[in-house]
Amino acid sequence: MDDISIISLYWERSEIAIKETDVKYGKLCNHLANNILNNNYDAEECVNDSYLTVWNSIPDARPNNFSAFLCRIVKNLSFKRLEHLTAQKRKPEMLISIDELQECISSSANIENSYDIAELGRLISSFLRKQNETHRNIFLRRYWYYDSVKNIAADYKFKEEKVSNILFQMRKKLKKFLEQEGYNI
């Protein structure tokens, strides 16, 4: 079912909307939640909570991009769940990929500067649009979806080393781009 029809079902308050959302995006949502939480039970709880959140959001919302709308909700709820987790954990892919972003940070960073994060997000979008499509998507798979290098390599039929290199080059480029734009993060 296409996204416009799914959104219409939400507006009609038809519960089939949730089923259709799950049919189309269930695995993606679970995959994203699992990348953050690294636990099937917690991930599925988050996905179910996300469906409820979408149900409560539409209407009044009528998202232009339903998959991104849904994934953002899943991500936010997964992060909230992660805050409650303690104890010795398998280090989720999320933390590993965040660690890698540290290389994009300038050596002269002043941590006391405040940043308009939304503006920085727009800037990163413009950076990404100028990149090779494959490299852009691999970057987002790693740092937005927190996918493992192994999964990304399998989907692209690349060696893992190639994916790691692409990510490394993208991080270097992003750092240089941000510095040129006057962002010493």
């Binding site: 540290q102 852009r136 998507n137």
Partner: protein, 409 residues
């Protein structure tokens, strides 16, 4: 800083996020079809050549009409392979499980106690568990993914999941959520039966009775299982079954009582993420006999004969990955970076969000020193306990970090 960058990436445009899951091989197929159509319009021979060369390499994949179809929801459920189960890895022995739980019972029980504010009452950690079979195009049972329920009073309240990384047993714990109440009900309502556990659709866990009554442990949506299929007998093994009897057998759990005073001063067990204001000097500074802090100078670490250099990163360390011993040429390069560093002594050690790089210098006299780089700060820690940290006034430590990234990636 890393958090700011991560938050900003979170806000990139929606279309970029959606497109990120478009599988490139499918898009190549589109390109090939378009190219073939154009070539065919101009010359039949050229078309034949294109077909001849491209066809040999073209993957036989149907173009995906939506980027997320490969991650679609329940469509794959209709395809459950009838032909049996593939077993992966090796199951734990009873002794391994009991030893591991015994060694980690305080952390596991402590976390459960915090989650439920369950102090001074028995918490039972199972030492017998189950490994669900994942049903699909290939039915897979990963033998070293084991679920061990945790009980308080008469109810399952969470679980310990065991798995292996590089041959070592690791665990995660889970608490709260609907799954545990549902699991308790499923087992209690069938006290005389062994239930079989499966994942359907990749990740949805279900418990199935011998009569094929299905208990979804989560999932509010309907599961399109075929009521004519005897899932229980078709896919039951010794490893994916569990029962109320097994759970409550006193030989199959370790009981722990946690008092609030057992926990540390912050009320939580330690996490892998270090705090941004960690002062290394509070934990590793060494004093001599009369209380003076012993200093180790950067030039000291280069003054002795170095037999080998190993490099690593904090991320790899957390994943228990071994350091890499560098070649002679790489060793000289690293030493030249270190000797070029201009530094001043620092008071605080700024810990970023993980992401440090480590150079370990192994000396001929069997002692060693570690130099840990993180952003503009680095510290040196020697094997006899001396340590000191510096701020780098140049970019040399950052350049060294980049060099190490190249070596370890």
């Amino acid at each position: 800083m890393t958090k700011i960058l991560n938050e900003a990436i979170n806000l990139v445009d929606d279309d970029l996020i959606s497109e990120a899951y478009f599988v490139p091989s499918n898009k190549k197929s589109f390109s090939v079809y378009k190219y073939m159509a154009i070539a065919a319009a101009f010359a039949i021979i050229l078309t034949a050549v294109v077909l001849g060369t491209r066809g040999a390499n073209k993957p036989a994949i149907e173009p995906t009409t939506h980027p997320t179809e490969q991650y679609g929801g329940m469509n794959n459920l209709e395809v459950i392979n009838d032909s049996g189960i593939v077993f992966e890895n090796t199951a734990y022995t009873d002794e391994e499980i009991k030893t591991f739980i015994e060694e980690n019972k305080n952390i596991i029980a402590g976390n459960t106690a915090i989650e439920y504010q369950a102090f001074d009452i028995p918490i039972k950690i199972a030492t017998k568990g189950y490994s669900p079979v994942c049903l699909g195009e290939t039915n897979i049972l990963v033998l070293d993914n084991l679920t061990l329920p945790i009980m308080i009073d008469d109810n399952i309240v969470g679980s310990v999941s065991l798995f292996k990384v590089d041959g070592k047993i690791k665990f995660t714990t889970s608490a709260h959520g609907e799954a545990w109440g549902r699991l308790t009900n499923a087992l209690k309502e069938n006290p005389d039966s062994e239930l079989a556990f499966f994942y359907v659709g990749g990740y949805r866990e279900i418990a199935v009775t011998p009569e094929n009554k299905v208990y979804p442990l989560l999932s509010h949506v309907e599961l399109p299982l075929d009521e004519n299929v005897d899932y229980y007998n078709k896919f039951k093994t010794d490893y994916n079954v569990y029962s109320w009897e097994i759970l409550n057998d006193e030989n199959n759990y370790i009981e722990v009582v946690v008092s609030e005073s057992d926990l540390d001063s912050e009320g939580e067990t330690s996490d892998v993420i270090t705090d941004n204001t960690t002062k290394v000097s509070d934990t590793v500074a060494v004093t001599d006999d009369i209380g003076r802090i012993i200093e180790i100078r950067l030039e000291d670490v280069l003054s002795k004969e170095i037999s080998s250099i190993e490099v690593n990163s904090s991320t790899r360390l957390l994943l228990d990955q071994k350091p890499i011993t560098v070649t002679e040429e790489q060793k000289e390069k690293i030493l030249s970076y270190i000797s070029d560093i201009q530094y001043t002594e620092a008071v605080d050690y700024q810990t970023m969000f993980g992401g440090s790089y480590i150079v370990k210098l192994n000396y001929d006299d069997s002692s060693s020193a570690e130099i840990v780089f993180m952003d503009k700060y680095f510290y040196i820690y020697s094997s006899d306990g001396q340590s000191v940290y510096y701020a780098d006034e140049t970019d040399n430590s950052v350049n060294l970090a980049y060099y190490i990234v190249d070596l370890i990636s």
